[in-house]
């Protein structure tokens, strides 16, 4: 048997506890195999514990441990970085708690905050940088730390309460599906909730739509005072530090 076959045998032991059949494992290997399996499981538990402290507090220790076991069985680590292992945990929670959307949404928020913490560096434009921008043709570049996640519950309020060590509010379903924006300002991850319209606008901007086209699309959509809405969004994006570059007739770059 090859080295590859031996390693596949070892993987089966770690992941599903299937005792190695390869005769190259010594008869007295069991104590050592147990240590490796214990290390493997310990890494998974520590990783998810650290990444989802708020979700754990919301679910309770026992339910959270059950979720870890379910996730580890469903999805073993696949990346060279253990930091990537939490990425799929919210989807496991969504499967385990189909009637409690706030659980997966809490985990998604924690995950997005973690991603924002180590996202690529970028310097946001300042209000003073905007003189001379031709807004009709201006193309906005968003901070690479920005993540947008769908929202159907008051999970952000629950997150804030648990983080502040106060009594979390009861779960509420939002009347309309919303979105949560997560990004990093300086070295601190931030988030705010918004509606679908602003999140869609940011997605269009991210795909290259210029600001004039965005305004035209708002007019076509027939909402109230589209120019004012676009202006408010832009002011908020700049204030939040979401815009890192504006390409227009006058180039404004940090």
């Amino acid at each position: 048997m090859s080295l590859l076959a031996l390693q596949q045998d070892f993987r089966a032991w770690l992941h599903v506890g299937e005792a190695p059949s390869d005769p190259r494992f010594a008869e007295d290997a069991r104590a050592g195999l147990d240590i490796y399996q214990n290390n493997y499981r310990g890494q998974i538990v520590a990783c998810l514990d650290e990444s989802f402290a708020v979700t754990r507090a919301w679910l309770g220790d026992e339910a959270f441990q059950d979720a870890i076991i379910a996730h580890a069985g469903r999805m073993p680590p696949h990346s060279w970085s253990l930091d990537h292992y939490p990425d799929d945990f919210p989807s496991t929670l969504a499967q385990l708690y189909p009637g409690d959307a706030e659980v997966a949404e809490l985990a998604t928020l924690e995950l997005a905050l973690g991603h924002a913490f180590v996202a690529a560096d970028a310097v946001p434009v300042a209000t003073g940088d905007l003189a001379g921008v031709e807004w009709d043709h201006a193309r906005l570049h968003l901070t690479p730390s920005l993540r947008m996640c769908g929202l159907t519950t008051n999970a952000p309020a629950i997150w804030s309460a648990i983080t502040a060590e106060t009594m979390p509010p009861p779960v509420e379903l939002l009347p309309n599906r919303g979105e949560i924006l997560v990004w990093r300002h300086d070295e601190t991850p931030r988030f705010r909730t918004t509606d679908q319209a602003e999140a869609d606008a940011l997605r269009h901007i991210d795909k290259g739509m210029n600001f004039g086209s965005l305004c035209a699309a708002l007019v076509d959509a027939g909402g109230d005072d589209p120019a004012a809405v676009a202006g408010q969004w832009l002011a908020q994006w700049i204030s939040d530090g979401l815009i890192i570059e504006i390409e227009g007739e006058t180039r404004c770059v940090n």
């Binding site: 090859s2 080295l3 590859l4 031996l6 390693q7 596949q8 070892f10 993987r11 770690l14 992941h15 190259r24 494992f25 010594a26 290997a29 104590a31 050592g32 195999l33 240590i35 490796y36 290390n39 493997y40 890494q43 990783c47 073993p76 680590p77 696949h78 990346s79 060279w80 970085s81 253990l82 930091d83 913490f117 180590v118 996202a119 690529a120 560096d121 970028a122 690479p144 990093r184 070295e187």
Partner: protein, 277 residues
């Protein structure tokens, strides 16, 4: 491939002590960091490492390259490591003689290898790929192990010797790991230390371990034990001055405790060098 020598005393930098290292307040000659903790796009970790690098030589120590996998090293990993190497200009770049995953699975543990010609071909090829990708020679560290494979045809130190010859890599010798594996597998730790190619050793790790139910476990959460200090003294007598550091990965104590342990390392090395002179 040439690998520079450095004979100072350092510490593995762990999160609770980041501020002290950033401020340059720690009396060490070099710092070692876990490469993967800084192989991120940006943010606070990279800023901290840049600041620490302004004050100390930095060694990059990896845990996920998986040079023993029967598949080529992940190219994405190597691209990210190269970017970090280019930014930090590290003193050394090291990883372990082990495999961590295979076929889209990653254990995030240092898994053991059989020591035979097939494994030597695999590891030498992977070290060669890695060195080509990062543009410099690596140091390979001996792991602690809890399983020995009956079909191994050479000892670990013979394997490391041949690996160095084949790939041009150097060695990072973890004296605690030698002690743990020697205890677990019943070989002579002194024979190991006398068997490694001395001219290839560029760095030494000192750490602690725990007694498991049947085996010693490389927990790196304890002070260095007396036997490991004796082994270190023996090794320094053979090698001469060598970059040495205390490595603590869990139950991280106050910095003062680690510096006390590092002072012990300096005393042990000084005494050993005087006796060898």
């Amino acid at each position: 491939m040439h690998i520079a020598t450095f004979d100072g005393f350092g510490l593995g930098m762990r999160k609770p002590h980041y501020p002290a290292f950033v401020e340059g307040q720690v009396d060490v000659d070099f710092v070692e960091v876990i490469s993967e903790n800084f192989m991120v796009d940006g943010g606070q970790p990279r800023r901290i490492l840049r600041q620490v690098r302004e004050r100390y030589p930095v060694a990059l120590h990896g845990v996920s390259m998986s040079i023993g996998s029967a598949q080529p090293v992940n190219p994405d990993y190597l691209i990210r490591l190269r970017a970090l190497v280019d930014e930090i200009d590290p003193l050394f770049v090291s990883d372990h003689l082990c495999w961590t995953g295979i076929g889209g699975f990653n254990s995030h543990d240092l898994l053991p290898l059989p020591y035979d010609d097939e494994t030597l071909d695999v590891v030498a090829a992977n070290v060669g790929r890695a060195q080509d990708a990062i543009g410099r020679a690596m140091l390979i560290e001996n792991p602690s192990s809890y399983i020995a494979f009956g079909h191994s045809t050479m000892t670990e130190w013979e394997f490391l010797d041949r690996l160095c010859e084949r790939s041009g890599c150097g060695l990072l010798l973890d004296v605690n790991n030698v002690f743990v594996s020697a205890s677990n597998h019943g070989f002579d730790a002194l024979a190991y230390l006398d068997g490694v190619p001395a001219h290839r050793v560029r760095q030494v790790h000192l750490a602690g371990h725990s007694q498991g139910e049947a085996l010693l476990i490389d927990t790196h959460d304890q002070p260095v034990c007396a036997t490991v200090w004796d082994l270190y003294a023996h090794l320094v007598g053979r090698l001469g001055p060598v970059a040495t550091m205390i490595e603590r990965d869990d139950a991280i104590p106050p910095l003062a405790e680690l510096l006390d342990e590092l002072a012990t390392a300096r005393r042990v090395a000084d005494r050993s060098l005087r006796e060898a002179a």
